[in-house]
Amino acid sequence: MGIPIQAWFGQLTIGLINGAFYALLSLGLAVIFGLLNIVNFAHGALYMMGAFVAWFLLTYGGLGYGWALVLAPLAVAALGMLCERTLLRRLASLDPLYGLLLTFGLALVIQGLFRNAFGSSGQPYRIPQALQGGWNLGFMVLPIYRGWVIVFSATVCALTWFAIERTKLGAYLRAATENPALVRAFGINVPRLITLTYGLGTGLAALAGVLAAPIYQVNPLMGEELIIVVFAVVVIGGMGSILGSIVTGFALGVLEGLTKVLYPEASNTVIFVLMALILLWRPTGLFGKSA
């Protein structure tokens, strides 16, 4: 083919990293959609906020990457839960489209405010000391940080899957997704469960933002294009399944990375084209249940 093997593996790692972000974001979207029945358009803005909180912590608080990994998701999740309690809850009885529009408005507000404060250019965030450098694998040099992002996010995805599919709290959540009224009749506080779920979803988005901060610059616009791709990922996977959204996220990231090697012009659009094809073949998505 004449394409050096380094290019293949380089794009494969980038693809896996983007796939990790797609997976974390679409996982959060799927969890939120399951219980709240809304598509959280603000997800991209919350991902951006996660990266910014990490940057704030380092620049103004002197707290490094390790702290950011814990504190940023908590802070963003707290904000998310506040929004859920004060705004989204009022729309529970309405058409889900209103939830989409409300979160779209929130995304515009958040992104506009950050753009006013920080402009459109990015803020650099240094890779933490412990994760600098690279491993020489023989056929390529893998930057340690990139390897860390892939392993760490895969672990988080697996833990989330375990928590939802195999624990008692997860069982409540799944039950409430199926039939909230009945679960409530059993004495489980469903409104609190909804708030916590929204917090979980937004926290995952913020975590993806922290992971992305050293790779991409911390930029007010970093979430707005990403969320559209994630929507396509969600349509391809179907929002019915937790495992499905994780697998689809990683797979599409890799596909996008490999397209960059084979036919760079199509790398921006390959996910959208695939979405259109899948819709023609299987309108409910790969893992979706028919409505």
């Binding site: 889900p96 989409l100 408005g105 559209i228 959208f272 259109a276």
Partner: protein, 339 residues
């Protein structure tokens, strides 16, 4: 099976003409009057911008307000027509009416392709799919050579209408734009009040029942989608001629968001609402333009407020107020005559 149009004619109310239809000629006359006088008091280019966005919002509302389909990708149709029009006018030097027709054709074709894919899902999926497909079109426009990439197509010639009217004159251009706007607006009104519009509303209210009555919702949805896309194309084509520019802004997702906001702000499913929404939003943008990203913040806040407390929009609120007043008057006159 041939697609025989079901006996829609009977679904038409036989004698009682709906209130909206009775008030229609009056409203149209008022719109015509205001439109003819306005350019002598307000800057015509501003008015033309309102007309372009107003028509865009009306076309969009045909889909959201009357079929209940939220498209988040309507900028693709607006922008594709703007590019097609600008290209035809600049590269081929074609006359204004032909280039506008060419633009509408481009938007209609794109609309039938995107519509055919998107109507396979409903509700929020429909919104996400249209958004994703429009984003794909955005990347397409960014990469192909004839759109001029980041520069867009600049200095588009406006041409001479029918060889008689020089459209470089702003006022002449205004009346040309106003005439085409009216044509588009009346067409939307006609579609809403026609048997087709009744079926569309039936599908919005209860799709399964429409199926059980023998209608094929997919066909109707696709017709509405293509009509909406083509009319959005008319708006985009006019935009390209007025501003002599077609650029990536015209296909960007933020424009798709703006048209949703205009419609929501003006009043979903009302005939004049989207026009009012366009007027409010264009004015807002005009005044906030020096403040950079605050425009985005204001738009976002409008979205949040509309969804939370103002879901029926300006036109809806006005309608409520008039109904309340009429009911109040009736109660008042009843109280005066205690017999």
């Amino acid at each position: 099976m041939t697609a025989i149009v079901p006996s829609e004619v009977q679904s038409r109310p036989t004698r009682t003409v709906p209130l909206a239809l009775r008030a229609a000629p009056l409203g149209y006359a008022a719109l015509l009057g205001v439109g003819l006088v306005a350019p002598f008091f307000v800057y015509p280019v501003f008015l033309m911008k309102v007309l372009c966005f107003g028509l865009f919002a009306c076309a969009f509302n045909l889909l959201l307000g009357y079929v209940g389909l939220l498209s988040f990708g309507h900028a693709a149709f607006y922008g594709s027509a703007a590019y097609a029009t600008a290209y035809a006018a600049k590269a081929w030097g074609a006359p204004p009416l032909s280039v506008i027709f060419f633009g509408m054709l481009a938007a209609g074709l794109l609309g039938s392709a995107i519509g055919a894919i998107a109507i396979r899902r409903q509700g929020i999926y429909f919104a996400m799919i249209t958004l994703a497909l429009a984003q794909m079109f955005y990347f397409f426009c960014m990469q192909v050579p004839f759109t001029g990439g980041e520069d867009g197509i600049q200095a588009v010639p406006r041409g001479t209408l029918l060889g008689l009217f020089d459209l470089r004159d702003t006022l002449t251009l205004y009346f040309f734009v106003f005439a085409l706007f009216l044509a588009g607006f009346l067409l939307v009104g006609r579609a809403i009040h026609s048997p087709l519009g009744q079926v569309l509303k039936a599908i919005r209210e209860n799709e399964l029942r429409a199926v059980s009555l023998g209608y094929k919702p997919d066909q109707y949805k696709l017709i509405a989608f293509i009509l909406s896309a083509t009319l959005s194309g008319l708006a985009g084509a006019l935009h390209a001629l007025v501003f002599q520019l077609a650029s990536l802004t015209d296909v960007h997702w933020s424009l798709s968001g703006e048209v949703v906001l205009m419609t929501l702000l003006g009043g979903l499913g009302t005939e004049y609402g989207p026009l009012a929404g366009a007027l409010i939003l264009v004015t807002l943008e005009q005044y906030l333009a020096p403040f950079g990203a605050w425009v985005t913040v204001a738009q976002g806040a409008c979205f949040v407020l509309c969804v939370l407390v103002f879901r029926r929009g300006v036109a809806g609120a006005l309608g409520d107020w008039r109904r309340r007043r009429r009911a109040g008057l009736r109660a008042h006159s009843a109280a005066e005559r205690p017999d």
